[in-house]
Amino acid sequence: MSDSSLTTKRAKKQALGPYGKLGQAVNELDERLGVAKGGRTFMDKIFPDHWSFMLGEIALYSFVVLLATGVFLTLYYVPSTALVTYRGSYAPLYGQHVTQAFASSVDLSFAVRGGLLMRQMHHWACDIFVGAIVMHMGRVFFTGAFRKPRETNWLIGVILLILGIGNGFLGYSLPDDLVSGTGIRIAFSITESIPLVGSYLSFFLFGSNYPGTAVIPRFFVLHVLLLPAIIVGLVGAHLFLLVRQKHTQFPGPGRTENNVVGSPMFPIFMAKTTGFLLLVAGVIGLLGATAQINPIWQFGPYEAARISYAVQPDFYMGFLDGALRIWPSWTFHSFGHTIPFEVFIPSVILPGVIFNIIMAWPAIEAKITGDRSIHHLLERPKDNPQRTAFGVAFFSLIAILFIASSTDVIANFFRLDLATVLWAMRILTIAVPLIAYPLTLRIAKELRALEGSSQRKTANLVTRNAEGGYDAVSAPIHPDDALTHHTAIALPTFITEAPAGDTSDTGVRTVER
């Protein structure tokens, strides 16, 4: 290499400024879009650290997995109820007349390379998605994070839960197997049960009387296009509001209503959260690899006159199924009309009431407490015994209804009379929330009365002195608590200045805060 080429290289490098090509790219971008200031503010954004803040991330990342695996599945699934003769590799079904939807789902599992893994990952990701949303909601509820100014984001979250459950049900129905087909039948009957318009609605939804041929293609379009589009939009809005309003934080030293203490977006939070994305995807992959879910080839194709024993929907539909089981057979039949209260109340009114209470909760609580001020500091569940007690009672009601969706399995397993189990469930549905409320209230109040109950106890180091007595000194702070015991600092950014005397303006910048 000649001397002159070296100098040229150095000169070139110098001309680029201290940040080289990346700096140049930022300059070009900033001149056009003005990204530097906003970009740095975004990178400096502080995210508070707490394990419970990861629950929403689990939901988000399982949704990413859902999208990725879902796109794969759409390439092979055929949304048609046209009958074909199965000639695939699964011997027990060979030669049977099945719908294309079922045949393509079985082929997806056995003939498409990686297909079974993708199907199982998709199903597991869905269960985790809905479960994580519920857990995340529980965190937001019990810590009071939904309070002003975050009521809108709470509302978006509840709608996301409803859409997640709905889209889960639609997707579960698509393979047209015996179990999911029964679920579709029940969905038709529930729609039918709505007074005045029920039969019209169900005919419009299914395109004819049950079962018809339109339901699978229609559910497919809803499942892969309409609902995912709405969900993506709402997830975007959810995250935008989170960034705009900044995250809540638990109270602690140096944490006030006017600041956020934690890790900066770049690189610390980004490293952790990207790692978490990989971890969530990895765990879903492991579940898809090792835990069989929805083996449709064992259920067989759906035939309207056949049914399987111990039919249960996915877990997130369980509370509805349980309510349908334990609700009494009260019906209305008069004046030439029928109102099937035995279906309408547990499967339409009940979820309507439940989700409306959840959506309206921020307003309900503000009304009860009269607290309409802005909150950025979280409460611990014990700090608000009334809310916590209500939440626990509410969750226990849902949990009992969920358990009630397996009355037949419970009766079989414990060799009990079905009537005994049914009546036990009816009584528990009323009794458990009524017991849970005062019990939780009491526990929360007593915890609140305890001094420093939310802090980790520091151990005492006890030493025996020369006189034979004992001295106790408190041990150093637990390493995990170090973060909460240091005074937080504003995130510093160090910039490289170009050598003095350089007149080019590409290198020197003054950064103002």
Partner: protein
């Protein structure tokens, strides 16, 4: 080229500040462990590619894929948690709300500017509103009139008619000698056993009652000849097929929500959420001994709906 590092935000913070140091007490050790995780992740993902290439068992695909990502993920989380500046860092929370004057200006822009325009042209505003109002109603018509036919009386009828032969799922006519006492078969109207409607709506259970204390319902004295009785197979709760027959107790059980119907007593529900008996199909045995329908069901089959009389 000489480089100068200047803290931009806080002059009191030096680059050696403990809060800018990693959390790990011995970073080299942590780094080594993370490196092991990353190598393991890389190797497993390579194995995943290899397994995919040779079309290995699904569990091998999932295991290599999932384990690899898990290792990479844990490594990256550990890197962020133990090897990056431990903090804590703080930022101010700016008040989002604007000043009262700003808000008034915004409201005024809407009310005065917009409102003024509308007030001056009330007729136009009304007509535009009317036009959009009509459209917003007629825009629903594609939903109402394209998605499906009107139900009409579809839900009130089945394909069973006077004289229809009862056939089993294979299409074979059911003869009076076919069933042993106490056994059951699902029957369909002849010619409909392969159709969607036949399968989903017309499905009926034919039972040869084994119990002598059979109670005949009023007005149905001729509906169940020769110890045979036929009920709609659609549960009156949610329309699942009432597929379980408890022979000893003479009960038809719905596996969905455990409604039970007493076969010996007009299929009246005696347990569970079903509100009505299963509709009974009037049948007769013709001269050659085949089971045939006297007529359609006398009521709508399946779950309840508003128009059900």
């Amino acid at each position: 080229m000489t480089e100068h590092h200047t803290p931009v935000t806080l002059s009191s913070v030096s680059e050696n500040d403990p809060r800018l140091q990693p959390l790990a007490k011995n970073p080299q050790d942590v780094e080594r462990r993370i490196a092991v995780l990353f190598v393991a992740g890389m190797v497993l993902e390579a194995c995943f590619g290899w397994a995919y290439w040779i079309n290995a068992q699904p569990w091998i695909l999932g295991f290599t894929f999932g384990m690899g990502l898990t290792f990479l993920g844990i490594g990256l989380i550990a890197w962020g948690k133990y090897l990056m500046p431990q903090g804590p860092f703080v930022e101010e929370r700016h008040v989002l709300a604007n000043s009262a004057a700003d808000r008034d200006a915004f409201t005024a822009a809407i009310v005065d500017r917009g409102g003024g325009v509308i007030k001056r042209r009330k007729l136009l505003a009304g007509l535009l509103g009317g036009g959009l109002g009509v459209f917003s109603i007629t825009a629903l018509f594609p939903l109402i009139r394209s998605l499906g036919p009107l139900p009409g009386t579809t839900l009130q009828h089945t394909d069973w008619k006077k004289g229809t032969f009862a056939v089993d799922v294979t299409g074979r006519r059911v003869h009076v000698d076919d069933l042993a006492v106490g056994s059951i078969v699902t029957i369909f109207p002849e010619g409909k056993e392969e159709t969607d409607n036949g399968q989903a709506v017309d499905q009926t259970v034919l039972i040869r009652i084994s119990n002598s204390n059979f109670t005949t319902q009023k007005g149905r004295e001729t509906w169940g000849p020769s110890g045979y009785v036929a009920y709609s197979k659609l549960c009156t709760h949610l329309g699942c097929p009432v597929g379980l027959y408890e022979q000893k107790l003479q009960l038809l059980v719905c596996p969905c929500h455990q409604s039970m119907f007493d076969v010996t007593n007009g299929a009246i529900p005696n347990f569970g959420p079903a509100p009505r008996p299963l509709p009974q199909l009037p049948i007769y045995v013709d001269a050659k001994g085949f089971i045939r329908a006297q007529s359609d069901f006398h009521e709508a089959v399946g779950p309840g709906f508003w128009e059900r009389s």
